[in-house]
């Protein structure tokens, strides 16, 4: 703080004090009016938010983005000087201004920070910093290295000025939004033509049980594109590795598959596990009809009448349907008893055990051996037999009640007749 000459102390002191207060007041008001986190002046935004067309920047969108929230500004990526409103100074190459960033420069630009572990530690120590190296192993990255500019770069999936963390529902890479983001290119037949890849994946996935679990039931642990293909290191899993990818969640099915004859058979034929029967993208809820020798059975794709696999397939199908039918039968009888008025809550509860056993058997068939499902099927049949027994006992109770009623009704009829005769007797006596 500079001190003025003593001579002017009498008037200047209070004057300067007042002026300082005024300046502080104005500055404070201006600061308060400025966006919350952009505490420093951002002349880029001030100007570009008023532009139209290609030069327009939505200031709210940027300010809400994760980069802005963490204190980064336009300068962090585009260079320049954001403290001055003068265009020539703000966008001067001397100040490091880069202007529009070319697609081929983008991965390196993002990696400048995001692959720098020490730098990222200042913001979020638990964030990974291998995205770029992963990207280089991906199909996208490999094509990019060859000079392809159509292939995906960081901003195609994450956005540019509106980037949010993947956990934020606004983010284009939030689990609920991933499939749509991938589909922007991969479902566009025209765009994908030079690459010779199908574009039916998004459509198939949208019809799948995985999509239903994710989008309809809201189960965020359900798989989307990046779950199986990877995100930064995106590549389709190879024939050998598909089964391992599925087995990350479907542990039992994979283990059982490995104990069965299909593992070797598929391996020798170069067929991938899991997707041979279940498909890769259009994975629908499996039904008992999928296994066996009837309509819609996938076993018929390889097996023909007479071969041992055909026989096993039929046997497995029959096992499942037998238990399913037994459960349905006892459920029906118990339901009838309940409607007839007998309490069967306990037996109906026990039926849940049988349904569990059927669930386990439906998992067991992946070993394509009867022994794998035998114990579950038998247990389930036992339980549903007990349920049937309970239902029959209940219906017996219904019969008992009705017989009891019949007895009391017969007695009542006797009494009614007796009363009637008595009335007639009495009244004939009265000389009517």
């Amino acid at each position: 703080m500079t001190t003025l000459g003593e001579g002017r102390a009498s008037l200047c002191g209070p004057l300067i004090r007042a002026a300082s207060l005024l300046v502080l007041g104005v500055a404070g008001t201006l600061a308060a009016a400025a966006p919350l986190h952009a505490q420093t002046k951002n002349s880029c935004l001030d100007c570009h938010s008023t532009q139209t067309g290609a030069f327009h920047m939505d200031s709210e969108e940027f300010v809400a983005s994760i980069h802005a929230q963490k204190g980064l500004t336009c300068v962090s990526c585009h260079g320049g000087d954001s403290s001055t409103d003068e265009m020539s100074r703000a966008m001067s190459p001397a100040a490091g201004f880069r202007g529009h960033i070319e697609r081929k420069e983008i991965p390196a630009l993002c990696a400048k920070c995001h692959s720098d572990a020490a730098y990222m530690r200042n913001y979020n120590p638990s964030l990974r910093t291998d995205q770029f190296s992963q990207y280089q192993t991906s199909v996208h990255g490999k094509l990019f290295a060859k000079g392809d500019t159509k292939t995906a770069v960081c901003v195609d999936c994450h956005g540019v000025h509106d980037i949010q963390p993947p956990g934020d529902q606004r983010s284009r890479v939030h689990p609920l939004n991933v499939a749509q983001t991938c589909g922007r290119c991969h479902a566009d037949a025209g765009y994908m033509k030079p690459y010779g890849i199908n574009t039916d994946q998004l459509g198939d996935y949208s019809a799948s049980a995985h999509h239903e679990a994710l989008a309809v039931r809201g189960d965020l642990s359900a798989p989307t594109c990046s779950t199986c293909h990877g995100s930064h290191g995106a590549s389709p899993p190879g024939v050998d590795s598909v089964a391992r990818v599925c087995s990350t969640c479907h542990v039992f099915q994979a283990q059982l598959f490995d104990t069965g004859p299909h593992k070797e058979a598929f391996g020798s034929m170069g067929l991938p596990g899991c997707i041979t029967c279940h498909s890769n993208h259009r994975i629908v809820h499996p039904t008992d009809a999928m296994i066996g020798t009837g309509q819609g059975a996938v076993c018929l794709n390889c097996h023909t009448e007479g071969d041992p696999g055909f026989v096993t397939a039929g046997a497995l199908h029959d096992d499942l349907t037998q238990l399913d039918a037994a459960i349905a039968r006892s459920d029906e009888l118990l339901g009838r008893a309940e409607r007839a008025g007998v309490e069967v809550g306990e037996a109906q509860l026990a039926q849940a055990e049988a349904r569990n056993d059927l669930l386990k058997a439906r998992v067991g068939i992946h070993a394509v051996r009867r022994e794998a499902v035998q114990s579950d099927i038998d247990a389930g049949l036992k339980v549903s037999a007990a349920g049937l027994q309970a239902g029959q006992t209940a219906m017996g109770e219904v019969q008992y009640r009705r017989k009891g009623l019949l007895v009391s009704v017969v007695i009542t009829i006797f009494v009614l007749i007796g009363l009637y005769l008595m009335i007639r007797k009495t009244e004939s006596n009265d000389g009517r």
């Binding site: 007839a340 309490e343 009623l405 009704v409 009829i413 009614l416 008595m422 009335i423």
Partner: protein, 361 residues
């Protein structure tokens, strides 16, 4: 002397039983084409006795707390020998009793039995109707299943609409702001203590008055017999009418047994006060016409809320209905005919709205 004769002599010596028997021997019942309606009162009484007996039996196992109420009824239905029978008879007989009570009231109305000197009989009968409806309403909550919980919630909301007194009445009924354990305890108290006590008093009074004044004869019949006394027909109460009444009572028992065996009363699902009310919640059939009326009234009629108008309207109608004997003295005057017309309208209204309530889901 036989043992029976000796017992009778002892009772007569101490209580003057002979006088009562002599009175009953003299009691006669008029015989005309409307005589069958005379059975309705006795039937209501019989069903009430059934309720008392089965109710006491249920009391031996029922527990009136939210944690136990549903389970205790389930216990009665599944574990207790013939529990299903006792409980189903209690529930069915309750509904039949309310039906016969209404039928009895309407037959008394149309046969004009409320005329002088039977005004007090009519008043005590109206008190009994309120008591019987109170039994129905309080008893319905006791199984503590979803239907009963929400029906009670809706049902107690309605008196809350009354201005000034409403909030206080609602709190008194519910034992608090909401339907809770306190409500269950309170309703249980009403159902097994307060209402039975009141019922005993009023049934006693009602029966005494009926004996005092004898059976009323409808005006048209009365006129005919006054003109031609020899045409008058009567039968002795003992044993003729009583035998017939016994036939009716046995028939009612057989029907109750059949209902219990073929259409047992359901258990439902235990009430969850935090769940939202299931769609299509409605009260039991005897409150349906009031419920539907309130639903059909618009939210506001001028400055007055529709619900309030409905409640006040019903209150007024009930008051007029109760004071009936004091402005319809019988005879063939215009008042008489207006009253009969109003009765037909009331009956038609109740039947129509009850049916409507069940047809419209």
């Amino acid at each position: 002397m036989s043992a029976l004769a000796r017992t009778y002599a002892w009772l007569d010596d101490h209580f003057g039983v002979n006088e009562i028997v002599a009175f009953l021997r003299k009691k006669t019942v008029p015989v005309h084409r409307f005589s069958y309606f005379y059975f309705l009162g006795g039937m209501t009484l019989f069903l009430f006795i059934i309720q008392v007996i089965t109710g006491i039996l249920l009391l031996l196992y029922y527990r009136p707390t939210p944690a136990d109420a549903f389970e205790s009824v389930q216990y009665i239905m599944t574990q207790v020998r013939f529990g299903w029978l006792i409980r189903s008879i209690h529930s069915w007989s309750a509904n039949l009793m309310i039906l016969t009570a209404f039928a009895h009231m309407f037959s008394v109305f149309f046969l004009k039995s409320y005329r002088k000197p039977r005004e007090l009989t009519w008043l005590s009968g109206m008190a009994l109707l309120v008591i019987v409806l109170g039994f129905g309403f309080s008893g319905y909550l006791l199984p503590w299943n979803t239907l009963s919980f929400f029906a009670t919630k809706v049902g107690t909301d309605i008196p809350g609409q009354i201005p000034i007194m409403g909030k206080w009445m609602l709190t008194l009924l519910r034992g608090g702001e909401d339907v809770t354990a306190a409500t269950l305890t309170r309703f249980f108290g009403f159902h097994v203590a307060l209402l039975p006590g009141l019922a005993t008093i009023f049934v006693g009074l009602h029966l005494l008055l009926v004996q005092r004044f004898g059976m009323s004869v409808p005006p048209s019949q009365e006129a005919e017999w006054n003109a031609k006394p020899p045409n008058k027909r009567e039968m002795h109460f003992l044993p003729n009418f009583l035998l017939r009444e016994l036939m009716a009572w046995y028939l009612a028992l057989a029907i109750l047994g059949a209902l219990a065996a073929f259409k047992p009363w359901e258990l439902g699902v235990k009430a969850d006060p935090f769940a939202s009310a299931p769609a299509g919640i409605r009260p039991e059939w005897y409150f349906m016409f009031m419920f539907e009326t309130l639903k059909l009234l618009p939210a506001k009629v001028g400055p007055i809320p529709g619900d309030l108008l409905g409640v006040v309207g019903f209150g007024l109608a009930a008051a007029l209905w109760t004071m009936l004997p004091f402005f319809d003295r019988g005879g063939n005057g215009r008042t008489s005919r207006w009253v009969a017309g109003a009765g037909v309208f009331a009956l038609a209204y109740i039947v129509a709205l009850t049916a409507y309530g069940y047809m419209v889901k």
